[in-house]
């Protein structure tokens, strides 16, 4: 090759020849990073180089890199491989390695969410650039014009000759420089720029098939290296003694019995108290000992869960933050209300929830004598965590490396970087001069992690004379839901980003309209979202309070429950079947498709009267819909209500999902099943209990989640709609559908409307008696 070749805006060049092997886009970035580590400085891969994204090896194997990580969605090990294999025209199995989530080994950064939305185009475009670069190479080597070449299974053919991708790179080191934009440390990370030609969906052969998840085998056979398995030479075990309340400053540190814990060091920095010991059991015992004698100032600054909604309604400031209005607002709602013969006015309430990962957060940190810091953790946004740690230490970001390992899924809690233990591990490692592993207890994880925001919504609905929806107004109220401050840094008095405030955008206190309106037939619609600061934060001497963080289907869950239950109520007011009422008010073909699908597949019975009570049990059916990240969803829940106890058993959940292109049917089905169970759990069981000082939940009994006995029969219907041409999200949303469908089914079964969650027996019993 004479000079560099232009590949739709990317530049392909040969960096040299090699005697053995050969690679397009070889591991130069990785080698550079390793070299720099020796000098005490660690950089990210240069994302402009395709070698940072994809390596084509001379043995026809392929490596891909992504800054995203896996949280149980499997997407980076299934869908990402399928999409890259598709663009490159290679077998799925040719992609032998997926490097993910390490700041020094992956290019793009950004949070692990919306993987098939904002995340996917990067890897797809990178693959397309590489594909065209390989075609350019083949055109030169075969002396055949590019447009006369064809590729199948990684072999390029033309003019009666053929060469594999491996043949094309053999003996060379080739570079492809890809146009990039964006910020690696931001929530969304870097973005691959330009528009390389993409493979037409009509030619897909790999996307759409159920390939297995490559991490299943190691996880099932105990061969996976989990974050819990990270062991460094000289590593110490630590526990942190967290303050007594969410506003307590340290008064005095409890004594340590040196006879029982002879090798323990107590570290105190500001309000952060940690114990560090050579064995985990000594650290546990030392933590309990020190905690029992440590004195904290008292603080009461929370409304308590019993007074939460009164506080949100009467005391919280909803006026300072800008109000978000939906883009689809239209018509004159006031006029519709004034002229309506049938109206509905109601308030809906959702409690704080916990992400509640099965394993409490933990991390290992190695603060080295040369000032570099290595953090080993399970995070959804390694680059953001890296930035946060560097900020906390007031050190350049290139002296921090974050490595990401498999761990317990936590559903959004770390999409801004931090899950809890990382910064504490760094502070303690710096203090003792050794690698330190911080393991939170179940109680720490419930009381000191962030929560999914509570919310309330006021709805007004007007029907016309025929029972049609003539006016709809909803006002959503929710405290800020994205606090990415490092809690250990706050306790230790070290720098962090500011708490959510009225000036922030993504991290501000303003709310947004998260739940797109779908009932086009309504002539007048007014949707608004109000935000406020985190409850208790301003009055907490620690500036902590109830810290919130996005959780699976964030914000949209809080807005979709009131809307969908209100629509069910409106249908009843109109005397129309709630599923039929939705069909009558929607026009989007894909939405009608998922609704008709759940009607057929769930055994939905059109009826205007409630079924009777039989043996003290009343059964009902309910429906909900949602549009999220390119995907249309509909859900039907069938429940049985014990009329004496108020206990609800969800017997069956039917979900229809139309994401456009279904990338991997088997994996999507498992995601939807799992989401449905989480949704049942949120609807029936979950509510964060807290008093005026802090969170009182401290174990799985005080924050219960669904068990196998609670799991309903689940039917998932996947609607593959390739002509849509896009990949909709599949792993979120599924958890948000159940609650409004279950509450709708409760109404169907009993005639009682439950406008707050969870639907615990005592609440339902109270409704039944009313």
């Amino acid at each position: 090759m004479s000079n560099s070749i232009d590949v739709f805006g990317a530049a392909l060049s040969r960096r040299g020849f090699v005697k053995a092997g050969g690679v397009l886009l070889a591991g130069f970035g990785l080698a550079k990073a390793e070299g720099q580590q020796k000098a005490g400085v660690v950089d990210s891969l240069n994302p402009a180089l395709a070698e940072s994204w994809i390596e084509i090896h001379d043995d026809n194997t392929i490596l891909i890199r992504t800054g995203k990580s896996d949280f149980g969605q499997g997407t980076i090990f299934t869908a990402y491989r399928q999409i890259v294999a598709e663009e490159l025209c290679v077998p799925f199995e040719a992609i032998t390695t997926v490097v993910s989530g390490d700041t020094d080994r992956t290019p793009d950064g950004g949070g692990t969410f919306d993987l098939l939305g904002h995340g996917m185009p990067n890897i797809r475009k990178a693959a397309a650039y590489v594909h065209h670069a390989l075609l350019d190479l083949a055109a030169q080597r075969l002396a055949v014009p590019k447009d006369q070449l064809s590729v199948k299974d990684g072999v390029v053919s033309g003019g009666g000759k053929s060469l594999s991708y491996g043949d094309l790179v053999k003996g060379q080191k080739l570079n492809l420089t890809i146009p990039m934009k964006g910020d690696v440390n931001s929530m969304f990370g870097l973005v691959v720029d330009g528009n390389p030609p993409l493979k037409p969906v009509s030619q897909y052969t790999i996307v759409g098939k159920s390939f297995p998840n490559s991490v299943t085998v190691p996880k099932v056979t105990a061969k996976e290296t989990w974050v819990t398995d990270v062991r460094l030479p000289g590593m110490m075990h630590a526990r942190v003694v967290h303050p007594k309340t969410l506003g307590s400053k340290l008064v005095s540190v409890g004594a340590l019995d040196k006879a029982r814990c002879p090798n323990t060091q107590v570290v105190v920095k500001g309000n952060l108290v940690g114990v560090v010991a050579p064995t985990e059991w000594e650290a546990v015992k030392a933590g309990q000992q020190v905690a029992s004698g440590t004195k904290w100032a008292d603080w009461k600054g929370l409304p308590g869960d019993r007074r939460l909604f009164q506080f949100l309604k009467e005391d919280a400031d909803w006026k300072t933050a800008p109000v978000a209005a939906s883009k689809t607002n239209k018509g004159d709602v006031a006029a519709a209300m004034a002229s309506s013969p049938k109206k509905l006015s109601a308030t809906y309430q959702l409690p704080y929830l916990k992400h509640a990962p099965i394993g409490p957060t933990m991390a290992v940190a190695d603060f080295r004598s040369d000032g570099t810091v290595y953090v080993y953790t399970h995070t959804q946004n390694a680059q953001a965590l890296r930035t946060g740690i560097a900020h906390m230490l007031s050190t350049p970001v290139d002296r921090v490396v974050v490595r990401t390992f498999a761990g317990p899924g936590h559903y959004g809690r770390s999409n801004g970087g931090n899950a809890g233990a990382e910064d504490e591990a760094v502070i303690l490692s710096q203090a003792v001069g050794k690698p330190v592993r911080v393991q939170w207890t179940r109680q720490d994880d419930l009381q000191w992690s962030t929560q999914s925001s509570a919310a309330l919504s006021d709805v007004e609905i007007a029907l016309d004379a025929k029972g049609g929806l003539s006016g709809y107004e909803i006002n959503h109220y929710m405290p800020a839901m994205q606090d990415d401050r490092l809690v250990g840094a706050i306790l230790a008095g070290l720098p962090t980003i500011p708490a959510p405030n009225e000036k922030g955008s993504v991290f501000g206190v303003a709310n947004s309209m998260h739940d797109p309106w779908v009932y086009d037939a309504a002539p007048a619609v007014l949707e608004r979202a109000y935000g406020t600061g985190q409850v208790g934060q301003n009055s907490s001497p620690l500036n902590v309070g109830l810290r919130d963080h996005s959780m699976r289907t964030p914000g949209q869950y809080q807005q979709n429950f009131p809307r969908e239950l209100a629509i069910t109520e409106a249908a009843a007011l109109a005397g129309i079947d709630p599923l039929q009422f939705r069909l009558q008010h929607a026009s989007e073909k894909r939405l009608l498709g998922v609704l008709e699908s759940v009607r057929e597949n769930s055994g939905w019975e059109s009826r205007s009267k409630r079924p009777g009570v039989s043996n003290g049990v009343s059964r009902g059916q309910g429906v909900s819909v949602m549009f999220r990240s390119g995907t249309y969803w509909a859900c039907v829940a069938h429940i049985a209500v014990n009329m004496a106890s108020g206990a609800i058993k969800v017997e069956k959940v039917t979900v229809a999902v139309d994401p456009g292109i279904v990338v991997n049917p088997a994996q999507l089905k498992r995601q939807v099943e799992g989401g449905a169970v989480m949704g049942v759990s949120m609807a029936l069981l979950e509510e964060l209990r807290f008093d005026e000082s802090g969170i009182t939940a401290n174990d799985w009994r005080s924050y219960p989640i669904a068990t196998m006995a609670d799991a309903p029969e689940i039917k998932v219907v996947l609607i593959h709609n390739p002509e849509v041409g896009t990949y909709g999200q599949g792993s979120e949303a599924a958890n948000a559908l159940a609650a409004p469908a279950i509450a709708g089914a409760l109404f169907d079964a009993t005639g009682k409307i439950a406008r707050r969650l969870p639907l615990k027996p005592d609440y339902v019993q109270t409704l039944l008696k009313a």
Binding site: V220, W281, I358, Y411, T441, D699, I705, A706, A711
Partner: protein, 174 residues
């Protein structure tokens, strides 16, 4: 010094006798199957088999298992091979049918709880060869100190995997 038998191998452990077995397995013996989930026997992530019975290693002390047989996720293939009387060479290539079923059904989502799920399934299927769905639910919910919890909601996949494993184990015995 305490002697325990882990996955068929006698191991000498220096840790104090009141150390929870979970920490011994993970930190002293460097096994990665059992996980720390709650430390209070409320979730099942740390489960192991103790003389064939599922126990929570987070609240089981090292001293209480002296001389007893502990099987972890790592030991399931050998446990099956021994049950089937396989040669050492064949045993090395074998997965326990429960693990094979978990792979076939693509059961794990994040997978953190699945150690305990597979251990519980082993206990169940060693005693009940064709469990009904109700029996499976009972095993994973009310039979032990607490339900086995999965936050990702993989219960449907677990039930299907247990059923698949049950028929594989029966077929293999016929």
């Amino acid at each position: 010094m305490t002697t325990i038998v882990v996955n068929g191998v006698k191991r000498e452990v220096q840790a104090p006798a009141d150390t929870p077995l979970l920490y011994v397995l993970r930190n002293d013996l460097e096994l990665s199957g059992p996980q720390f989930g709650c430390g209070m026997a409320q979730c099942g992530a740390c489960s192991v088999l103790l003389n064939g019975k599922e126990v929570r290693s987070c609240i089981t002390t090292l001293g209480s298992v002296a001389g007893k047989d502990v099987t972890t996720l790592e030991g399931l293939p050998a446990r099956w091979a021994q049950h089937k009387g396989l040669s050492a060479a064949d045993a090395a290539k074998t997965l326990h049918p429960i693990q094979a079923a978990w792979i076939e059904e693509q059961t794990p989502l994040c997978g953190f709880c699945q150690n305990g799920m597979m251990i519980k399934a082993t206990e169940l299927l060693e005693h009940t060869t064709s469990p009904s769905v109700a029996e499976i639910k009972e095993a994973f919910t009310t039979s032990g100190p607490s339900p086995h919890l999965c936050r990702c909601g993989s219960y449907t996949a677990i039930i299907q995997a247990v059923q698949r494993a049950a028929s594989a184990m029966k077929g293999s015995q016929a």
